[in-house]
Symmetry: C2
Subunit: 563 residues, 2 copies
């Protein structure tokens, strides 16, 4: 059997090694367009920031090591330009010499990845505008920074790559502005959770231009000027385009393979394309979303590696199936960790799913043991079915753990309220006797049992201030004085039983406290005394963070280098 693999990074490299482990006699050839294989895409921003200092660390394998260990022939700087599905051959171009040859295959695996989106804007071909996808891109940016001693950068796009490069450039001392078309960074988060990201980036001195559309670029002496739709301009020494990636589908298109969402390559759960003996994996393919079971594109390294292994199994006569992606992802942003999995509330609602969420602010470990840090966790679930739809967490320590526990629970099909039953490991340095994930389960179970009803941050502005409802803040008098929402009266929870006569029991009561716990207790007291009660989801801490960032975002020139 002769196997030809197009693309030697995550999915392609995984598949190649696995095919060899399953079949010593197969002939395996990998064609990689760039000069490197099996490289660490996700590490590239950190080489730019000198966190990873040895460039050889960026490649996990070389063509030589792949040959030595696996007898896999890897040809870098070779681009497959054509597939003849009838003859079962590919045309390969040596990008260094320009020569072309034909290569026959019995099985063909496409792992071409994705390409950075480059909008057709005036001035976009400036050599001061970069994108980051390959090791070559990385070296190009790194060299440019070294040579020009660049002092400032504009990052267009506030997803993972954009934010990671922004952090790394800021840590190198550059002035950094992120320009983002939507009203928030990171579309893997809901707006409310993204506000913590905005806050962190601003605190670190990174300028954010949200709701901002780039219209063109202009070279101005040594500067590259980014022009925005509101006619403002941002001059900087370099621009990174990081507005997302699109499936690399040119080869698949040429070969007549069926394409799907966003032009991705359609595969079944055995990684088979629409044409026999051609498989595809990684960022180029369409996958089933694990939660919604809808077709989507999820460009992440974890799924690509798993898919490579599954394709290899099937190429070698096995029968392995991909279960779909739920888009679990995580990012370090300075000292903060931000992670998400499954659907955001926004996406769930846009799909017409009747969903609800809980927001909590647990400590990473027992408060009495030194070093505990608060995280903010949002768990989204479907009403009535209590199906777990997704989760988002921002914080520092322990965020990755809770996200992976929630992703595992989702993968296993656990109901949201069953999170309360998980038997997680507790000792004071690591968690609390009631782990944050258990706490989320308790909260969801309380909603399920009708013990508490919630209201949310985006409802507060619309609550009547005409006396037809009671707005009640149950924090201490000191906390209340330090900052509260207009229209809320203050009765500390511990005084509530004595002072209940101050509240009109014929009107709904909207309760808030700092984190949501005391207001929940207040709601229970009031509910049992006949009040119609609503507990604010996330507490004043959460509300204040979201609203503060909303105000910052709406301010046109918050800070930075704008002209």
């Amino acid at each position: 059997m002769k196997v030809v693999i197009v693309g030697g990074v995550a999915g392609g490299a995984s598949a190649a090694a696995r095919i060899r482990r399953l079949d010593e006699s197969a002939e395996i050839i990998v064609f990689e367009k760039t000069g490197y294989i099996s490289y660490a895409n996700c590490g590239l921003p950190y080489y730019i920031g000198d966190v990873i200092t040895d460039s050889s660390d960026l490649s996990l394998q070389t063509p030589e090591s792949f040959w030595t260990r696996f007898r896999i022939l890897v040809k870098v700087n070779h681009e497959v330009t054509n597939i003849d599905v009838t003859q079962k051959t590919v045309t390969v171009k040596n990008l260094l010499t320009g020569t072309e040859c034909e290569e026959p295959y019995d099985k063909l695996l496409l792992s071409p990845g994705a390409k950075p989106v480059r909008p057709n804007l005036s001035g976009i071909d400036s050599e001061k505008i970069f994108s980051l996808r390959t090791i070559e891109d990385t070296f190009r940016i790194h060299d440019y920074l070294e040579k020009t001693k660049a002092q400032s950068a504009v990052i267009v796009g506030g997803g993972y790559i954009g934010i990671e490069v922004a952090e790394n450039l800021k840590e190198k001392g550059l002035n950094v502005t992120i320009v983002q078309r939507p009203n928030q960074l990171m579309n893997t988060l809901d707006y409310d959770m993204a506000s913590f990201v905005h806050s962190k980036l601003r605190a670190k001195g990174i300028s954010l231009r949200l709701n901002s559309n780039v219209t063109s670029f202009r070279q101005d002496g040594e500067c590259i000027v980014t022009l925005l739709e509101d006619n403002s301009e941002i001059a900087a020494d370099m621009v990174l385009l990081a507005i997302g990636v699109a499936p690399e589908n040119s080869l698949a298109k040429q070969a007549g393979l069926k394409l799907g969402v966003k032009g991705s390559i359609v595969v079944n759960d055995r990684m088979e394309t629409s044409v026999q003996d051609i498989y595809a994996v990684g960022d180029a393919i369409q996958v089933k979303h694990f939660v919604t079971e809808e077709d989507t594109v999820i460009a992440l390294a974890g799924p690509a590696n798993k898919q490579g292994r599954i394709a290899a199994d099937n190429i070698c006569g096995g029968d392995s199936h991909y279960q779909g992606s739920m888009g679990s992802s995580i990012i370090k942003i300075f000292d903060m960790t931000v992670a998400g999995t499954g659907l955001t509330e926004k996406v769930a609602k846009s799909m017409g799913i009747d969903c609800e969420s809980v927001v909590l602010s647990p400590a990473s470990h027992a408060g009495y043991y030194p070093g505990a840090k608060v995280m903010t966790m949002k768990v989204v679930f479907e009403k009535d079915t209590w199906k777990l739809l997704g989760a988002q967490i921002v914080g520092t320590e322990g965020v990755d753990k809770r996200l992976d526990v929630l992703a595992t629970a989702m993968h296993a099909g656990m109901k949201a309220n069953m999170l309360k039953d998980l038997d997680l490991a507790y000792a004071p340095p690591f968690s609390s006797a009631k782990d944050p994930v258990n706490m989320a389960g308790f909260m969801i179970e309380n909603i399920r049992n009708g013990f508490v009803k919630q209201y949310h941050w985006d409802e507060i502005a619309g609550l009547p201030r005409d006396g037809s409802v009671t707005l009640l803040d149950t924090r201490t008098a000191y906390e209340y004085k330090s900052g509260h929402i207009d229209g809320y009266i203050n009765i500390p929870v511990d005084d509530l039983r004595e002072r209940m006569n101050e509240i009109d029991d014929s009107k709904p009561v909207y309760v808030i406290c700092q984190s949501g716990l005391r207001s929940y207790i207040a709601c229970r007291i009031l509910t049992q005394n006949g009040f119609d009660c609503y507990n604010f989801s996330g507490g004043y801490r959460f509300y204040a963070s979201v609203i503060h960032e909303k105000q910052m975002s709406e301010c046109t020139y918050p800070c930075g280098m704008e002209k």
Copy 2:
């Protein structure tokens, strides 16, 4: 409704607060034998070690705060001495005044906890022999250390409390010896995994006396001398007895409640005892093991808190059910983290379960990102059914995360081989594209598919050295020279295809490498060439660690202060 609760720590305090949240009109009285409620059992060793310095941090609530917020009457220093199940009253003794009174109840919740086991040994009543269960115990030890400037301690018992106190005393500068009757510390680990704990403790200068049975104690001037069965003696300034706990069942026994394993209180999954209107939770009760569904006793804070909440629900007319414990637990040992859940291989085998395990040594996060640390992970599963039975991990960073993911997968009933499919969050600072848990799943799937057969550390000594089998080390020549197992020949994996003729294909081949990956590749090469092959589980790294510690343990006086 009047609810009387016996015991105001984890389970009792949780239940009391939950009952109030569910029922504003209930009368709730908590009787606590010690002077403190809702205290942080798991934090006590860290107060002794001055990691937690403020004693008020040890109590999460006070009787005053419980009254203020919940209108729960808490009486500390009050012991319930008798239950009259017919009259539905309890007899309560004020331990400060000695007075007694009767207290009627509608519902009674027992949360008496467990008591440290004190063997009936000569000399055990010395004031220099301590145990650690309550805040009072903690202060007693802390004060003793302050006053006597103790320089040395013997810890009898190498479970969680013993090891945590050993660490804290060592960090204070004391010479510490742990005396343990079995041949290993921590019965939540298999012997092989415990060897990493032994190694860490020895490296930190703590003396271990394994396989050592204490026969008596003797005061000798200012010293307390611990006498062992082999007639050796260890003199020290103090002794901590930490050989385990037994359910506090005196009240239950007196009241005629049905008792179970180790004298624990029998409850159903609603936390109801054998007598109507009496509930029990926490360390005193018998639980169903989540994995085996057998009756057992698991004294941990997490389950106690969950049980308290469930009892409260049912006391208030709800219908909540406890799902059983799987004993997920974790401990910090200096800079090491050790965690386990479910069954050890040893226990599984002793129960007659036909089980297998994989051992792997993955990095905590991507190797190319700074700071990655190796962990050792063992996952135990049932043959044929592929049911996950348990997991153990030792390492530093990221151990807690993987353990909780595995515990969640077990709780959800996932098959061991399905761990490969989990969609966990990856970025270089947090994990690898193939997370350690995925890797375990890949390994198990390879066993399931018959791609690889394993052999284990305890089989190596018994492998014939008479030429009837080939023992093959596939590491580099340099690694082989640096240390290898007698009888193993060296063919580096990368040379194996050329040098295969050096191996007799009529004999079984037992392969080893450093971590298990290269030997797996070698096994695949050999298997496909007709060899009968076995891959060593865990690699030479694991073998060397286990064997080294085994030798150390068998040496009678490894180090320390023995006479």
